[in-house]
């Protein structure tokens, strides 16, 4: 039960921020929007990027529009080359935009805004030969955090991620997982106004994934939009309030996981006491798969359902009849097919 795990994680695995209070804020966040902080959405509109090389132009990102709503975790999903990283780099301003715009709080994003965004690039790296603490303080200072405050905050984060005793070590001495944690600290220092994280969960063990998810939740609770990309669909399904599926540089689907699931064709499963072969003859019913007493069907409308059930009851008992909601993975396969 991924959903339960996620829920439990919020209640029990949140080391700071006051369990019940923050959980209730979170519940309000689920219900509508969080009421605890200033809300500023991060929005991209018709974002386009063309890479020209050797006379040929490739549209890596083609008119992408979506909103990373404040206080919500937005998952950014897509296969390799779908344009996730290119989009994120354009949002952060490290790649020139060919067309379209990035808005923060309703206005075109500025350099000053971006200075207070937390960003985690796709490829990870830090200064290998500098102690963890020193370089995090350095990066914090570049983002305008005063030295003493930077130090305090870095130590606090390192402590939470179990790296307090490694603060003086050179980054190259740390395991890859721990380097990833240091990178995360670099992104979330200084109460960022938005988080843009490229594959923040890759390379983390399950416990670290949960800790990371908690950490991101703390930021959404502050009312910050968090956009992160991932190719782990189960993770995205479990964590995200919103989902953007990208393929071939375009937005293929965009919405809450529930919306996406219901936007797909809902199928019905029918289990009878006898053979189900007759369903093929019922008007408005398409048989996807019939195997003995079990059938998977697509129904045109409620009238078709009534006809189907009447016909079935005439022939014997109906053991099961219920809608089968597609998993996110199925939706993903459907929209990217």
């Amino acid at each position: 039960m991924p959903f339960f795990r996620y829920f439990a994680g919020v209640f029990f695995a949140s080391p700071s921020g006051g369990g019940a209070g923050s959980a209730s804020r979170w519940i309000r966040a689920r219900a509508g929007r969080p009421s605890v902080a200033v809300m500023s959405d991060l929005e991209v509109r018709d974002l386009t990027r063309v890479f020209a090389s050797g006379g040929t132009a490739r549209r890596a990102v083609d008119g992408v529009s979506f909103t990373a709503t404040s206080g919500l975790l937005t998952g950014f999903v897509g296969g390799n080359g779908a344009g996730k990283t290119t989009t994120m780099r354009m949002i952060m301003g490290v790649l020139a935009i060919t067309g379209g715009e990035v808005l923060f709080d309703g206005a075109p994003v500025t350099r000053a805004d971006r200075r207070e965004f937390g960003y985690m690039p796709e490829e990870r790296g830090l200064y290998p030969k500098q102690p963890v603490l020193d370089q995090l303080v350095y990066l914090a200072r570049l983002r305008g955090i005063a030295p003493a405050a930077a130090r305090r905050e870095v130590l606090e984060h390192l402590d939470r991620l179990g790296l307090a005793d490694r603060a003086k070590e050179h980054v190259e001495k740390l395991s890859l997982g721990n380097q990833q944690r240091v990178q995360i600290v670099a992104a979330i220092m200084g109460q960022p106004k938005a988080l843009v994280l490229d594959e923040p969960f890759s390379g983390l063990d399950p416990a670290a994934v949960d800790a990371m998810a908690d950490l991101l939740r703390e930021h959404t609770r502050r009312g910050v939009p968090v956009l992160f990309s991932s190719h782990q669909l189960d993770l995205v399904e479990r964590l995200c309030e919103r989902l953007v599926i990208l393929g071939g540089g375009r937005v293929l689907a965009n919405g809450t996981p529930d919306e996406l699931r219901s936007s797909g064709v809902t199928r019905h499963r029918l289990v009878l006491s006898g053979d189900a072969g007759f369903v093929r003859g019922v008007p408005g019913v398409r048989a996807v798969d019939v195997d003995g007493a079990v059938a998977l069907l697509e129904l045109d409308d409620d009238a078709a359902a009534s006809r189907l059930l009447s016909a079935a009851l005439e022939r014997g008992a109906v053991h099961e009849f219920f809608p089968v909601r597609p998993t996110l993975a199925q939706i993903y396969r459907e929209v990217t097919a």
């Binding site: 902080a37 200033v38 500023s40 780099r89 354009m90 952060m92 301003g93 490290v94 790649l95 020139a96 935009i97 500025t110 350099r111 000053a112 971006r114 200075r115 207070e116 965004f117 960003y119 985690m120 690039p121 796709e122 490829e123 990870r124 790296g125 830090l126 200064y127 290998p128 500098q130 350095y138 990066l139 914090a140 200072r141 570049l142 983002r143 305008g144 955090i145 005063a146 030295p147 405050a149 930077a150 905050e153 670099a186 992104a187 200084g190 109460q191 106004k193």
Partner: protein, 411 residues
Amino acid sequence: MTGPTRAGDTARNAWMVVATREIVVRALNKGFVIGLLVTIALIGGLIGFTSYMESRTESFDVAVVAGDESAATALDSLADGRGAASSDDSVEVTVVRVDDAAAAEAALADETADAWLSSAAGGDGEWTLSGWREPDGTLARLVGTTVRGQVLADRAAGVGTSMDDLTAGSEVVTERLDGNPVDPQVVFVAGFVLAFLFFMGAVGSGSMIAGSVIEEKQSRLVEIIATAVPLRQLLAGKIVGSSVIALGQNLVLAGVGLVGASFTDLSSILPSMTASMLWFVVFFTVGFVAVAALYAVAGSLASRTEDLQYTTSPLMMLLMAVYIVTFSADGVLERVLSYIPPASIVSMPVRVLAGDTLWWEPLLSLAILVATTVGAVLLSERAYRGALMQTGGRVSWRSAMAAERGTTLGA
């Protein structure tokens, strides 16, 4: 929603944060510290060796056979320091008196004497300086001069005159009208030293900045930094940081050299050496900014550390050429070079030391250097920003200059 913690430096002052890091990281770098210490030790050793060679006295034991009065007289005058070569006080001669030729040979064989001087038996034969092996050159020259003086004096006395009368009015003294007391030899050595300091400082600190640029590019740290501060600030910080290091290194080395020189014969020309050194420091400081900026571009053109060797090689060649040409140049070539950056960084201070510059010449050359540096920095800034975000293989200067510089990667 600016948090209360954002009370630190603004993006405009980010270069100071960057420069501080560059300096601290470099100053704590073991390789750098060891390299600097080794260089100081080399300079100290060189100065020590020079002053040792200057103050060293060679001593010789020279045998003379009893009864060979002419030889005994010549050696005595050498030993007392009264002979023709008396001005040379670095050679000490001790006379060893032996009974006969056999005893003299024995003394040579068992090394109680270094040489044996015997006068021409009949008065107009040859004098002989014998050794077990070939007698020492310095000794042979001294003995030769002394014997010649003694024989000439005897003959002069024989014809009723004196050596002083004979040589009166025959001496040639040298005089230079510019009043500069600096030996051309010293100027040559100074040229070598300055060229070396320039080369070491430029290549050492230049490689450092290239390395630090590629470190950030390769690890994509630069993407994080670019979202926080303008790349121009990052570049400025790096240039300032590595310039401070290079300048500090040269000040230390120049200081060690000047202090060391004060212990040697060079102490008499210390004022003009110091003036030349100061000019060098000024020229180097200005010129290094350009070198650092170009090295930063070389770093940004690479995509991996391994590419650095390739991307920095044109710069390396230029600096190498400056190094070789400047310390060997003289005359018109040196005069021309003293106006052409980056050679002027070395050649102009050397000319100042040699004393053949007019007061405005270093200033004009400095102005040219400043203009060149400004141009190089502007060019580099553009190329650096263009190349830094291009990944996947080496970037050419052309595509670096042509690249769009991102939406906010500019100012």
